[in-house]
Symmetry: C2
Subunit: 358 residues, 2 copies
């Protein structure tokens, strides 16, 4: 920290992203990437011709992509906001829809970035505890008088609530924005975007980073009432209007034309998830029911931190948080069947090694 | 605006980027893009193989690119910050280094985004008038007790101050951050980055959008004391850590290996600028002396707004601001020699048409 940094950031703890080691080839199950490459249409669209036009700015209003995405979801372009990944959009939401008069609430166990945003903007934030089994109870989100941010399915657990439960939260908070972060919705969840015509306080965030296999392209989007979308555009055009790469806009348009590829990949992840959970269960693991492309799992015989470190030594990266209430668990991305077999094999080795030590 | 937007943004006027029309082919001289494609090495580096790896996140710390950029400038990686374009970095600077205790100052005529950032963060901002001929006098930046932001060369004028003049500003503001926005430095200006070892209060912003022909890739960088860089990293990792596209990191590394191409393009722009200014002078235009890839010019016979509209009708886009003190002028990007010949031809047509009307 320099002597020049504004004092309001003195205590700020930045978000710590999952490791992105560049030094060796890991089986990387720690940042919830898709194991599948982008669709062949995407690879074809990002042609040498288009790369040769990188000297030109992208369209900051993303008009063409916005229209296509709106069509894809049966919405109007005025319902669509695009920006540099869903973190970028969440940042804008905390900036636009929270302040001293509108504090924020989110689940006590959820995406760790929510707390970082709250601290960044000096917000009073309420961490609403989850119930047993990491269940979210919609009744806990009534009469809070706060902007509400909920990941559905939740991270790092993978557990989802229903669209009806979300509607009940929206209904109980008509004068508050409710942000539903659906980064992981495509692997078995049910999107609440169909509630948009009924609720001007609903903002749904999604991303091309997960099911669309474009984490490297940096593209997130939000769907909602035109009023909320206009607010986000105002913030984007007051910070960094050209945030979406020219090639990414082209790639995303191509991706939208690869519906079968997308659906097949989502199905494959769901099947591999079921397989992984069943195999882990045979080894005594307890896994939170997940509809995401990751699972939150614990082994009663090996502490989470030990499992994480031993897996890393063996070339498999998963994510672990050294926090009292979840230290038993690891979050494991669902990769390809081959990657999960390596993961399971290393888990079996570790369990055997631990038994022989005991 | 929705009923949910934080009241502090009610009066905020977002930045208006130059038009990026997608409907017809213009000779586009309005957003200071390079007329040259990215280097052949860049086009080769963004291969189908790399596009096929877009399912993976980029390295948020940009370690490899940071090392190469540090080497390129004879600095250490700790002196380098990378983010999504220099607007993104300027936004972070206003956020990190300004607040109620540290207000901000910048030239009254400069990059219009500075005022937007100041309003976004509710800052007290001082617009320091330029002197005759749009000259910046370093003496006007003494004892302001403010964070200082100066574009050098300045936009939209193209006029530069010397490294010695910048040193005098740094010397007079040892306890204030001085941001020198060098987006246009490579077309004939002299970078002040060699002052970095002497001044812990100097932050130099540059971009790959102009001389590097990568406006579509979204990459800016800042050079400065490790303390300032650490502050910017903190803000980046508290807002959107993965802001730089995977392909852009690869493209930028390749661009750094194309030094001759880069230098030849910068020379070509400087030559075409001299040619354009001379031709305009023959037509009676007065042009501010520019070391940038644009010129700020006025025709005593045709108002700036008229010239802008008539050029647009004829398929040439330049930039015009409808503000009293600069309404006479247009800002014209220096494109290729062929583009400038089209521009000059259309200017001649307009002058003839105006004479025959008179």
């Amino acid at each position: 920290m320099s002597r020049f940094l504004s004092r309001r950031f003195a205590g700020l703890e930045a978000y710590v992203p999952g490791e992105q080691p560049q030094d060796m080839e890991y089986v990387k199950l720690n940042t919830n990437e898709s194991p599948f490459p982008p669709s062949p249409e995407v690879v074809a669209a990002v042609s040498a011709y288009e790369v040769g036009r990188l000297n030109l700015y992208p369209d900051p209003a993303c008009r063409s992509l916005k229209r296509k995405l709106a069509d894809h979801f049966g919405l109007a372009p005025e319902n669509v906001f695009l920006s540099n990944g869903s973190d970028d959009i969440l940042n804008f939401c905390f900036m636009a829809f929270c302040d001293g008069e509108r504090p924020v609430a989110f689940p006590a166990l959820s995406y760790g970035f929510y707390l970082v945003y709250a601290e960044l903007y000096g917000l009073d934030s309420l961490a609403v505890p989850l119930r047993e089994g990491f269940r979210l109870d919609p009744a806990d989100y009534r009469n809070l008088g706060r902007t509400i941010v909920i990941a559905n399915p939740n991270a790092p657990t993978g557990r989802a609530i229903s669209v009806e439960e979300i509607a009940s939260i929206l209904e109980a908070n008509r004068d508050q924005v409710v942000v539903i972060d659906e980064a992981y919705i495509d692997f078995g969840g049910d999107s609440c975007r169909r509630l948009i015509p009924q609720y001007d306080n609903l903002l749904v965030c999604q991303t091309f980073s997960k099911a669309w296999s474009m984490a490297g392209g940096r593209l997130g989007f939000a769907l909602g009432d035109p009023g909320l979308i206009a607010d986000l555009e105002k913030i984007k055009f007051s910070t960094n209007p050209y945030s979406i790469n020219r090639l990414t806009q082209i790639a995303a348009e191509a991706a939208l034309g690869s519906a079968n590829y997308f659906a097949a990949n989502c199905r494959a992840v769901a099947e591999t998830r079921a397989y992984t959970v069943a195999e882990l269960e045979k080894l005594g693991f307890e896994t939170v029911p997940s509809v995401a492309n990751f699972i939150f799992t614990r082994c009663p015989r090996v502490p989470g931190g030990t499992l994480y470190r031993r897996l890393k030594e063996k070339g498999v990266l998963v994510r672990h948080w050294d926090k009292a209430d979840i230290a038993d668990y690891c979050r494991v991305t669902i990769g390809s069947r081959g990657q999960m077999d390596v993961f399971l094999e290393k888990v079996r080795e570790i369990l055997e090694e631990e038994s022989s030590h005991a």
